[in-house]
């Protein structure tokens, strides 16, 4: 028996000994950070001159100029439409793709290609997709809608699939045992288990699409972004400020909407 004060027992390895491998990785990381800051020429001087310009810009932005409110309102309405239409179709398509991508519902022959498609949708940033669509279907809202549909699929189809993969198969087994068809099994055993999570993802995506709908315009895919970009190019910084304020209002409105939906379906 090894007593607490026994001095005779052999030295045990210290479980908290320094792991030089891990320490090395941390040091390497710190070194790379320092190198990057130097490589990009970041210095206090650079930062302080930058801040000077920023102050200059802020001066020109205030007070915000709402005199061209018709242009502003037109862009806002278009952004909102793009976001709502893209969310509707994006969520609809994602529902099916999510189901087909769930590995506990589908065989690998179906789920693997669908998962690859979803991954492809998520590969590119929406700005890149928007440029591709503007080049292929032309300037305007259609390109924006297609962009956000693709972005929605890339994001929530994956979340839908993961939610479905986490369901309890016991309930599925019971519904299958009643002689229900596959579609009925999905409707009565799968959907009830994932519906509230789907709702959460869908409102999050609507929120995200609202945000992104103001961005796609910058590359010519319709909406408030286009108005913003041209205001920047014409140095109308007071109008820029007005647009930014409207975007903030739009996003808060989206937040309010998604809270409302969540409360209704609680």
């Amino acid at each position: 028996m090894a007593g607490v004060d026994s001095g005779t027992s052999a030295a045990r390895p210290n479980p908290f000994a320094r792991n030089w491998f891990v320490t090395g990785i941390w040091l390497l990381l710190a070194g790379y950070l320092v190198y990057s800051v130097n490589a990009l020429g970041l210095s206090w001087e650079r930062i302080s001159t930058g801040m000077g310009f920023a102050g200059n810009l802020l001066d020109k932005m205030f007070p915000p100029n709402f005199s061209r409110w018709e242009l502003l309102l037109g862009g806002l309405i278009e952004s909102l439409e793009i976001a709502v239409i893209a969310s509707f179709f994006g969520i609809l398509v994602s529902l099916f793709l999510g189901l087909f991508a769930a590995r506990n519902m589908m065989s690998g022959w179906v789920s693997s290609p669908v998962r690859a498609l979803i991954a492809l949708c998520r590969t590119f940033h929406p700005v890149i997709i928007a440029i591709l669509f503007v080049k292929s279907v032309g300037f305007g809202a259609l390109a924006g809608i297609l962009t956000l549909v693709v972005a929605s699929i890339g994001f929530i189809a994956k979340l839908f699939a993961e939610a479905i993969e986490e369901i309890s198969l016991k309930q599925v087994e019971a519904i299958r045992a009643t002689g229900a068809s596959f579609v009925s099994v999905v409707l009565f055993a799968v959907m009830p288990q994932v519906f509230s999570r789907f709702l959460g993802f869908a409102t999050y995506q609507l929120d995200s699409n609202l945000r992104n709908s103001t961005m796609v315009g910058i590359v010519g895919a319709g909406g408030l972004g286009g108005t913003l970009f041209s205001a920047f190019q014409r140095f109308d910084y007071d109008f820029v400020a007005a647009i930014l304020i409207v975007i903030i209002a739009l996003i808060m409105f989206g937040e309010f909407l998604s809270n409302l939906v969540r409360r209704i379906f609680k």
Binding site: E173, A174, I175, R176, T178, G179, F188, Q193, S196
Partner: protein, 255 residues
């Protein structure tokens, strides 16, 4: 149903999850009589697998299961679903759809009889709705009809599970350890319900059960399984300590 025609005929049923390592080694059971038939045996001997082969939640490896003049082992797609809807199943952990209401859970017993489109709109026939409420009355849960299933206690859930199975208008009931998650009193009540529905519908109820005494009390026939084979098939009175030793092994548990 004439006595010459069996409710269920299982012939040479085999199942291997891993090739070369069978869990069911040729099961032959013919069921010609209604009422409770208890299947006893140690854990892992294939009782659950046997039941799940009957409604094809598990694919049998070999053998035949003759039910309603068709071989369940061969049935596919729509034909399989049509046979399945006449096999009511009760689960050990109830397997209710927790986020649906109690009455919706009972009505899922009709899914095999209706299109998914009608089911989705909850367009159940008035007759089905009446039957569902009558069944809830029969299991004593009418006042919980609109509650969510996950708000019920274990015994209440199992009653809903039984109502769902009976809602299918089954020609046979399967119950996989229906009482194992319940207290002794509730377990007896659940067995009484199964017995009652089997009598009313004049159908057999195949019940996997751990509790030998509970099985003896309710079963008209007992099937003892050990090592993937049927080692006893006969009346509950005929089962001796020798048989139980053969089924479960050892004897210290036989007080």
């Amino acid at each position: 149903m004439s006595s010459a025609q069996a409710f269920l005929e299982i012939k040479g049923l085999q199942k291997e999850y891993v090739s070369g390592n069978p869990i069911l080694k040729g099961i032959d059971i013919t069921i010609t009589e209604p009422g409770i038939i208890a299947i006893i045996g140690p854990s892992g001997t294939g009782k659950s697998t046997l039941l799940r082969c009957i409604n094809r939640l598990i694919e049998p490896t070999a053998g035949q299961i003759i039910f309603e003049q068709a071989d369940l082992c061969d049935a596919r797609g729509g034909e399989l679903r049509k046979l399945r809807r006449h096999v009511g199943m009760v689960f050990q952990e109830y397997n209710l759809v927790e986020r649906l209401s109690v009455i919706e859970n009972v009505l899922t017993g009709r899914l095999g009889y209706m299109s998914a489109w009608r089911a989705w709109r909850r367009n159940f026939s008035q007759q089905d709705i009446n039957t569902a409420f009558e069944l809830l009355d029969a299991v004593g849960l009418s006042e919980h009809a609109t509650q969510r299933a996950d708000s019920l206690s274990g015994g209440q859930r199992q009653r809903v599970g039984i109502a769902r199975a009976v809602m299918q208008d089954p020609r046979i009931l399967l119950a996989d350890e229906p009482t194992s998650s319940l207290d002794p009193k509730t377990a007896v009540e659940i067995m009484e319900l199964l017995e009652r529905f089997a009598q009313e519908k004049n159908i057999p109820a195949l019940v996997n059960i751990h509790d030998v005494n509970l099985a003896r009390r309710f079963a008209k026939r007992m099937i003892g399984m050990a090592g993937g084979k049927v080692v006893y098939d006969g009346s509950p009175e005929g089962i001796s300590d020798e048989h139980l030793k053969l089924i479960y092994g050892g004897e210290s548990w036989l007080a």
